[in-house]
Symmetry: D3
Subunit: 141 residues, 6 copies
């Protein structure tokens, strides 16, 4: 039996979004979403924490090469989000309201596919502001 | 089946307390609690993280309107703690030693009652200083 | 002679912007501004630090009532920036490229007018991301 | 000519205070100071930054041994403030309203006397909360 | 039944290490570990969070006296790591590659032995940089 | 006359060093430098803030393209420091004790030469730990 260690890398991206339901009028959106549905949109510096779990390799002492994890997520995920408009520019968000809840669930499938077999994705944590945070563990209700 | 997402909002309040057992003498309190039982009291900038879990609503993309969560907790909880003396000024701490452990357990019941039915309270995290942190998940031993 | 003390209050707002020169084509803008000129825009969580200087009042011990400073700046400044599009929604930025440099200079005049006579505005500091910061002291070159 | 380098050490202490003028009634204090004059008091985790300037010594490369600076300030200053009531427990604040403005000015004289001759005290910075900051450079108006 | 509360204390230490497998040549190490195997080594400011769980004592309101936990861990653990070379200076790391994964697993056994019976060790969290984090819960795979 | 705006970019690197004077014995070094002269060395996560000043360009709204500043400093400065041993691996520190004071003075000349003519270097700030900070403004005593 080998120890199970959790490894987290934190990423940063800046993006804009408008939280609104396109089926509703601007007025209805304002009642439900308040200033978050302002038609010009607004934006955030998002912090994304990706956590994987596995056992340290006997020869390297690593669960995963965190430098390679960093490069892969930056190229395949952050590049698609950084300095983008989440309503219009991100293929895997098309047709979804870009709330942080929907974003984190969409990111789960996107990231899980990228990982090497020796680790499993166990947690995503997304800070929308320094005071608002969203977590997803792949659980269903 | 729908994804279960965890939503956290961070709050801030400044309060004073004296950690001591009123059944004991000042000397006995000093032996057990050290400088924390200094009769004049001391204080902290507390950070409180409230985490709820639920599924994103199909029409809004939200688990909960985090703006409304913020307003409710600020009005019903933070108002009672901010710029207060935890030994004398807080109704739901009456008769308890205001350690962070007792505070977080008292906050659980207080906050759980306030939440709408579509979410459940899953974690409270209380930072007493940037180096001391307390968590409660509603578990019993 | 009385001591001169500097008092700083930190504010937070989330906004979107597109950095581009409307006199240029999208291609020219891309050459000069790179991803910052992406037509859909992007956004940030800005932190704004407002610093004023003065002498502590003999009767209150305050240079300024920081609670009142907070309320005034939030109402007169942050309300106009938070959850807005800096290209289209902010009256005092009309006709300017919404770079952080131009934003901080525009904010100086706006804030200086609001302050009571017993203090002077001495520094604005604007964090665009946790790694990019802009300061203005009202100096001219 | 030798380079002038600024060296800063950050300290932490937790204290309680009540901001009020003892010449006034509780009601008058409440009008002027609001919740900060709540009779039970409140408290903060203060961060104090002490900055000295001097030239790096040829033999050590140090402006000052920051480990010794730390020990001296902790023993002579922080010990008197940590887990104390600023209204009643701190000798050098006797008779002053314990606002952060008055505290930082009192600390200046206290700290300046402690420093070795090869450095000069150039700045004190006191964070009362993560959003409220006070600075003093020894200047008079 | 009594509430189960989690108490965390954060520690800091500065250390150097070189991540390499002594069975391999410098070139092989460079291929696998990149700049982390630079022969001169490099270093980090590590943050270590120790989390224990238990029930608040009826007489003190404490799960554990966090001041005593702090002193014990600083004396028995941090003293052995702070301002050390993790490859050569730390007895409990002898013969292991000093990756953060191996360090956190070695720390688990070391810390678990030190704790009083009324609490159990439930989580170690080690920040190697502000962006790289490692967690261990004592789990085996 | 045009406004003078200060632009800061924050960089990160991890390095090891041993603070000692090679003219002295290990014992003499231990008396002067304490644990900082431990022969195996130790290390830090350094944060370096580079501040330049200038006027916003009329056509771009920028004092400097902060993205290009970032790339230049990362390539010419951070590459030489990150994951290095400051005693042995950094050409511009050869023959100097790698204290943070000496490092920041050496960095000044190195960085000043790299900057385009439209800005001037006005401040370097180096965090050695979250509690120890060094600043240099190019001043001489």
């Amino acid at each position: 039996m080998k120890p199970k260690v959790y490894v987290t890398r934190k990423f940063h991206f800046s993006a804009s979004h408008r939280v609104y339901n396109p089926m509703w009028s601007d007025e209805e959106n304002k009642i439900i979403f308040g200033k978050c549905s302002n038609p010009g949109g607004h934006g955030h510096n998002y912090e994304l924490e990706v956590t994987v779990a596995g056992s340290p390799d006997t020869h390297t002492g690593y669960v995963i090469d965190i430098g390679k994890l960093k490069e892969m997520i930056e190229k395949e995920v952050i590049e698609q989000l950084d300095h983008r408009n989440l309503n219009t520019d991100v293929p895997f968000l098309q047709g979804r309201i870009p709330s942080s809840e929907n974003l984190i669930v969409a990111l789960w499938d996107h990231i899980a596919c990228l990982l090497p077999p020796e680790v499993e994705l166990v947690r995503l944590r997304l800070w929308e502001t320094p005071r608002n945070c969203f977590e997803y563990y792949g659980e269903k209700l």
